[in-house]
Symmetry: C2
Subunit: 176 residues, 2 copies
DNA sequence: ATCGTATCGTCTGATTCGGACCATGGGCGA
DNA sequence: TCGCCCATGGTCCGAATCAGACGATACGAT
């Protein structure tokens, strides 16, 4: 029941357990890997250590499997559930951060050969096209199931962003 | 001349010095603050420590002001310039990461009150509108100066992303 | 001269990071 | 039924990142 700050990682863990029910760290790693992990990646080691911390804080409780690997299964306590609700209800003043190596290279491109730009743009076009097809696939597969419909909404944001980036890099490829 | 890996921070430092010439860490902090820092933020402490590291690696050289604060002024060595060129020429396989608390909250919103969404959307609309006007301002002020024209290109990407996000959150605000 | 404040810089402890590395056990061939 | 392979599941570590409190210096206004 010790205290400490809750980071985004904490909420991802609490939230994911909230959505899928009692989970092992491995479950978390996989679930995050094909959901929010597409936008914001979390090293898997953290998805093992964070639940321990949250348990010490009283936001999760553990149970150990009686068989096989005797894995630890974490579930939300009432406090944990409340912490998520409070987070969801709190205002969000932060602006997103778009960490993009490609855009860095574009910004500094004057310092290198201008031919680099075309290659950069081509590679980015490929990346974004791939990602778009992954997202569209997910939408096709789960978009129709009412159970998952709400969780698919953020995917629309992801798609919008990908398409914006694709348009941008395509225009760069043409200009140079 | 010790070695070690170069991180994005390293390239931001090298690149910024490349673009603006010999700089103090404070210069870097300010320059980054109103350029790449809009997309990807770097704690200022790192813009003080990183140049030291790069100097040890032989990529920067220092000179100390003879007057006043005797600040350290860093400039690129040939190796430093070459390191940037190599980075710019190297392929970029990474996909950008969009760290967005708002989209996290949207994803997990089922766990809270659905009324939260509208507030979230409204706040995001405000944020993105503000940011768009900042970017448009920069474009208006510097876009016409040939000297800066190239550096303004990534700003178009930023604007596209902001507008995509704004469209998305506006549609959310309407739907809920 | 001294004071206030914008400029400039350092430090710290906690967290995050990537990635190498380790462990388990269920299924499959012999 | 044995054993061994390898996908699954998990730990560990040193380095980089982080926020933000705190400290120092210069310089103009009084």
């Amino acid at each position: 029941m010790s205290s400490g700050r809750l980071s985004t990682t904490s909420y991802v863990v609490l939230g994911t357990i909230g959505l899928r029910g009692p989970s092992t760290p491995y479950d978390l790693k996989r679930a995050v890997g094909h959901s929010v992990g597409y936008f914001w990646s979390f090293p898997h080691a953290q998805l093992y250590s964070e639940p321990e911390r949250l348990e010490r804080m009283g936001l999760l409780e553990v149970e150990t499997e009686q068989t096989g690997r005797r894995r630890k299964i974490y579930s939300l306590t009432d406090e944990g559930r409340e912490a998520v609700r409070a987070w969801l209800a709190a205002p969000t003043h932060e602006h997103f951060e778009m960490r993009d190596i490609a855009e860095m290279k574009l910004f500094f491109n004057e310092l290198g050969d201008s031919g680099n730009i075309v290659n950069l743009a081509r590679e980015q076009i490929k990346q974004h096209e791939e990602r778009i097809s992954v997202y569209e696939d997910m939408q096709r597969r789960f978009g129709s199931e009412p159970k998952y419909a709400r969780r698919m909404i953020p995917l629309r944001l992801g798609l919008e962003m990908e398409r914006a980036a694709l348009r941008f890099w395509s225009s760069i490829a043409e200009e140079f």
